[in-house]
């Protein structure tokens, strides 16, 4: 089976990293995976193709926009690979009713907008896959975690970079501010003098995107550089997907947050997994039950909500204990989330 992924080429996005793993695993099973498009100099490890006749399946991966390829290329692709051989990955929960959480994050801004997405999906493919633990809410939908865990990518402490940060958050400021401002910053303020460097690495922590409103709602990118300055929090630009884990490894603790609407939908992202490759202690802004469902029982120890300041200090003071907890979680992930298993699921979904 030759599978072509149609998705936005973002070297600093988790989905790109996951597809890179599918490309790596596919030949073991006699399959091929590539991303649609012309080769990208900044992504030399990825296989790209525009030769649609060389593929027999296509996977569209949509986040919060309906990514389109050029019109004539779209004609060639749709005319070559029929609907029954197309699968949509609905990464940001757009194939759902309108969900708005506390007047903040939402999957759609209106019913009209939602109808446009549903019509688009329904015309494009027979099946929609969601990277979620939640059971499907529609017979066209199947749950497929999409992301995997490969122990070989775990960073050996001996080769990890020096610990530049005590606390680090790696990820873009996309619907994160309410949680950061409401839970993390008060805790940082409480313990600021007891911890070293704190950093936020990713896009839009200093300012919203230069594209302006076209990039999304203003609220999604809200930040407060003045508060960051007061709390001596450093910000750095986003890193490409190949550097994420090494970047995380430059901190004793990495904090994991998730966009509220995805958390609500129990969607997993690559960050759920790659944070455990890093030589760090991941602390999780997740519901405990959800964390345990993915990571196993050991993860209870890593959950932050309700005890952020206490947990941060404890993890900094007892690194060996937490390293043991992380090892337990890694073993669980290795046993249950290999990319080989993910790829089998992908092929099975594509065969149906």
């Amino acid at each position: 089976m030759n599978i072509l992924f149609v998705m936005k080429h973002r070297g600093n996005a988790g989905n790109t990293h996951a597809v890179a793993n599918y490309m790596r695993v596919a030949p073991r099973y006699g399959h091929t995976v590539a991303m649609y498009g012309d080769p990208q100099p900044h992504l030399p490890h990825l296989k790209f193709s525009t030769d649609v006749r060389a593929f027999d399946r296509v996977a569209y991966l949509f986040e919060s926009e309906l990514y389109r390829i050029k019109p004539l290329r779209e004609v060639a692709l749709l005319a070559t690979i029929p609907k029954r051989h197309r699968l949509i990955f609905d990464m940001d929960g757009m194939y759902n009713p309108v969900i708005e959480l506390d007047g903040y994050d939402s999957n759609h801004c209106s019913e009209t907008e939602r109808a446009r997405w549903i019509e688009y999906y329904d015309s494009l493919a027979d099946r929609v896959a969601k990277p979620t633990l939640a059971p499907p809410n529609n017979q066209r939908v199947r749950a497929m975690i999409f992301y995997g865990y490969d122990p070989i990518l775990e960073v050996d402490p001996a080769s990890a970079p020096p610990k530049q940060y005590d606390i680090l958050h790696v990820g873009h400021n996309w619907w994160r501010w309410r949680e950061v401002a409401g839970s993390l910053l008060p805790a940082f303020r409480q313990i600021r003098d007891q911890v070293g460097e704190i950093g936020f690495i990713g896009a839009w922590w200093d300012k919203p995107p230069e594209e302006g409103p076209a990039a999304g709602p203003e609220e999604a990118f809200r930040s407060d550089p003045e508060v960051f300055r007061q709390l001596r929090i450093r910000t750095e630009a986003a890193v490409v997907y190949t550097d994420v884990v090494r970047t995380m490894s430059a901190a004793r603790i990495n904090i994991f947050t998730q966009r509220p609407v995805l958390h609500h939908l129990k969607h997993l992202t690559l960050k759920w997994f790659e944070i455990f490759y890093a030589d760090t202690v991941p602390l999780l802004m997740l519901d405990e039950d959800l964390a345990v469902a993915v990571y196993g029982e050991a993860a209870r120890e890593l959950v932050l909500p309700g005890r952020v300041a206490q947990k941060l200090l404890d993890a900094l003071r007892r690194p060996d204990h937490y390293r043991g907890v992380v090892e337990d979680v890694r073993r669980h992930l290795a046993a249950h989330y290999s990319y080989d298993r993910r790829f089998e699921e992908l092929v099975a979904a594509m065969r149906n």
Binding site: V52, L72, V75, A76, L78, P82, E119, L124
Partner: protein, 372 residues
């Protein structure tokens, strides 16, 4: 036959007139013809549909990228009609190697964002039957199908004889024919030919009468062409002013024949790419419906093959001024050529003929009984 035309239609441009003719002819012949998509408010006579059931042929009439429907209609169409029932008629020569002639081209990325291979992939993926509106396609895997045609019913004044036609033409006063020459069409890849026409007409302009160019961008080169460095929409306002050429904006498709008939002469120009490929356009045929003497600014062998031998009389060759003055002095032989050509067109290039040709072309590749 249930025929679905897949194309973008605009009352002001491209092949909207031919689309109407296909519908009208289909109705007479007992075929159901509709354009794919939602009803266009400015084209009430053109039926639209999104119902793909029982479609015998989906004819993709391709000129520009917008001729392919947008999503979600595109996916529904391609998934709803099997490839064997899809046919592409490539009206602008996209399914060829890239061609550059004067300032003309069949692919230009800076204009529409697409390279030659993208056109080829798209058309080839849509259908195995690629047709082009020429008597002699360049590629062996492309078939000849002119698509456009001649509709005798649309002839404004169907004279019974050349004498009657010539007399009426001579007698027409300024109210009926305010111009000596009328050309209706946009300034797209035609300026060099129009300029040469103007130079040829210059010595006889007083006798022939004023020229009117009706269409977009004759008055000045548009900003978008300047920005993109496109010379195919060039013009020369000072030459137009010197020759007192009237320039008017474009008209709707259903006004073209009437506006063309406001002059004694109606030139037919084909853009360089189309001359090279031997392509026809709607105007190739429609000009013969107007009450005007066509001036065929086309190669003689092409004219003979398409319009019939009689039409060669309407080709001015190198002496445009002589041609025009001779027609002014002795219109009857020219009208005789027009009437003979109209008969030829009615016989060989009617839309009924086009239906037969399309049926024959699709029957060659479809299982028997596929097309009703």
């Amino acid at each position: 036959m249930k025929l679905l035309l897949v194309t973008s239609v605009d009352p002001w441009k491209r092949s909207v007139s031919s689309a109407h003719k296909w519908v009208e002819a289909g109705r007479v012949l007992g075929h159901e013809v509709a354009v794919y998509g939602e009803q266009h408010p400015d084209l009430p006579a053109l039926p639209f549909t999104t119902d793909l059931s029982d479609v015998d042929i989906a004819l993709f009439v391709v000129q520009v990228t917008a001729d392919f429907p947008d999503m979600p209609y595109l996916a529904r169409l391609l998934d709803g009609i099997p490839r064997e029932r899809r046919v592409v008629v490539d009206l602008w020569g996209r399914f060829n190697d890239t061609i550059r002639l004067e300032h003309d081209f069949n692919h230009l990325e800076k204009l529409d964002g697409h390279l030659g291979w993208e056109w080829e992939d798209a058309l080839g993926a849509v259908s195995g039957a690629i047709l082009q509106p020429t008597l002699a396609p360049l590629r062996p895997n492309v078939r000849s199908f002119l698509f456009h045609g001649y509709d005798p019913i649309s002839v404004v004044r169907p004279y019974r004889s050349a004498r009657e036609a010539a007399a009426a033409w001579r007698a027409a006063g300024p109210a009926e024919k305010p111009y000596g020459v009328a050309y209706v069409g946009g300034n797209w890849q035609r300026w060099e030919q129009v300029r040469r026409f103007l130079e040829g007409y210059r010595p006889v302009r007083r006798e022939v009468g004023r020229i009117c160019l009706t269409g977009w961008h004759w008055d000045k080169r548009p900003d978008w062409a300047v920005q993109k460095g496109l010379m195919g929409v060039d013009t020369d306002p000072s030459l137009l002013a010197e020759l007192d050429v009237e320039v008017r904006d474009g008209v709707r498709f259903d006004e073209v024949v009437g506006v063309t008939g406001k002059a004694r002469f109606a030139p037919v120009f084909h853009r360089p790419l189309f001359r090279h490929l031997g392509f026809v356009t709607n105007r190739t045929f429609e000009t013969f419906c107007a009450d005007s003497l066509p001036v065929l600014m086309l190669p003689r062998d092409f004219v003979a093959a398409l319009y019939g031998e009689a039409a060669v009389k309407l080709v001015p060759g190198d002496d445009l001024a002589g041609h025009l003055t001779d027609a002014m002095d002795r219109p009857e032989p020219y009208w005789d050529a027009v009437l003979q050509t109209r008969s030829h067109l009615a016989r060989y290039h009617s839309f009924a003929q086009r239906f037969q040709e399309l049926r024959a072309l699709t029957a060659e590749r479809a299982p028997s009984g596929a097309v009703r």
